[in-house]
Amino acid sequence: MSTMLAIKELRSYYGQVQALHGLELSIREGAVTTLLGANGAGKTTTIRAVCNMVRSTGSIEFEGKSLMGRPTESIVQYGIAHVPQGRGTFTTMTVEENLQLGAITRKDIKAIGADIEKMYAYFPVLKQRHTQQAGTLSGGEQQMLAVARALMLRPRLMLLDEPSFGLAPLVVRDLFGILRKINQEDKVTILVVEQNAQLALELAETAFVIETGRIVMSGDAKEIANNEDIRKSYLGY
């Protein structure tokens, strides 16, 4: 399988503070990749850099095309959907409007209605609440909505920033089950950034471990999960 996203020598800055120090990461097409690390290690910064939401130098290539310097709103044109930290729900709008917003750049307007129905099949709870203001949904439901909104783009690559954050363990299980299904059935390549390493390693095929802005470990997710030393020193379980 070919490399879909290649990040090289990535350095990112918040004002004077440098958050990433020459980060290297690559994602294979069709795979689920996870980026693990503690609070403040630079996980969120990494995927924000892909969407040019933080000042960076280095190279980020998506299928050979450079994403550096492209405005955030143009990243969707490559088929990259970003589910941001905190879910990015349009809380004052209805559930259905949130889904329509996910498809706002698509030209095939006729197919959007069918895709919304498909999302309701994936996430039945969203159908029950489709006229409801999105801000009234529970945290888990909002995360489902965020994933569904991203899928409405018909993305080729989905970036997820801590989807498990603040959710009950059972809800997280559900969500990760759905992510697996999306990866296998819809052929969406996924990069999931997580603090919940155990769960993320079950889902992913490849894992990267980040510490203070550098990748300190990468490899097969199963191997990392089975290596007690790595687990204890970097993943904390």
Partner: protein, 292 residues
């Protein structure tokens, strides 16, 4: 009783002026989260453009769409040239920008068309409407156009993709960018639309208050009062607020001794303060539920 009914009707007809202006105020507030103090001057300037076109012999029904297009483009140009560079500057910087724009438009209009009062024609005529001495056909037409405008805006924001994108850009710029919305142009579009609505308001108001560079001074205060009363987030609220302010000011002027015509303007200001203290969201502003 007849006096009361008459005053209410008169209030509704002046209220239509405020409603129009409030609609423009709300438009821009939705797009940029600030009150544009130069809104009235922009409307005045648009009206002068219409006046100039008519002076050049363009027929009224051509003047109207032409003025709308020029104002729309002008609103976008102002945003691109003046307010986009300000970007995320603090509120006070924006306020200074609005005041500068106010002064520039006011002076340029004065220099170009001088400060004398001018007649401005109405397409509706000034006959009594349905035999009523209180509402003229012009005022009835104005109320009608305000409601048509409101319905068009409702349809635009509720049922079109651009409307949805504009709402998303205003609500949550960062998420809007992530789904591919060009937030910067949505703001420019908001300016263009507010400018266009202002032009309609100006053209409708000018036959009543007469055309001159300072014609919008009082009207804008009432427009703000209406928008605040109805809720700055709701175009429908803005229009209702406009009518309510019109009726309220008339009734207070009639029934409370000592108020009369001279003290009507402070009523609008008192209304703004009262609403902001008692019900900051306005009468029709949606109270959004937020989970924390």
């Amino acid at each position: 009783m007849e006096l009361f009914v008459n005053q209410v009707l008169a209030g509704i007809s002046t209220g239509a002026i405020y409603a129009c202006m409030a609609l423009a105020v709300v438009m821009i507030y939705q797009a940029i989260d600030h009150l544009n103090f130069a809104q009235g001057e922009m409307a005045m300037f648009s009206t002068f453009i219409a006046y100039q076109l008519m002076q050049w012999g363009v027929p009224y029904w051509w003047t109207f769409p032409l003025t709308l297009i020029i104002s729309f483009a002008g609103g976008i140009a102002i945003e691109r040239a003046l307010f986009k560079p300000l970007g995320n500057a603090p509120v006070l910087v924006h306020v200074a920008g609005f005041i500068a724009l106010f002064a520039i438009l006011n002076s340029v209009a004065g220099l170009t068309w001088d400060w004398t009062i001018k007649q401005f024609p109405t397409p509706f005529g000034n006959a009594p409407f349905l035999g009523s001495q209180l509402i003229s056909t012009h005022q009835a037409g104005m109320i009608g156009i305000t409601f048509i405008l409101l319905i068009l805006l409702f349809v635009f924001f509720r049922f079109t993709r651009v409307g949805l994108a504009m709402r998303a850009a205003a609500a949550l710029p960062e998420s809007a960018k992530l789904v591919g919305i060009n937030v910067s142009w949505m703001i420019a579009l908001g300016w263009g639309m507010a400018s266009g609505i202002g032009a309609i308001a100006g053209i409708l108001i000018a036959p009543v208050v007469f055309l001159e560079p300072n014609m919008m001074g009082g009207v804008l205060v009432y427009g703000f009062a209406s928008a605040v009363l109805g809720g700055l987030t709701s175009p429908f609220g803005a229009v209702m607020g406009g009518f309510l302010v019109g009726v309220f000011e008339n009734l207070v002027g009639t029934y409370i001794p000592g108020v009369g015509n001279e003290l009507k303007l402070p009523i609008a200001l008192a209304l703004i303060v009262t609403v902001l203290v008692l019900k900051p969201g306005g009468l029709f502003g949606r109270a959004y539920v937020q989970r924390v």
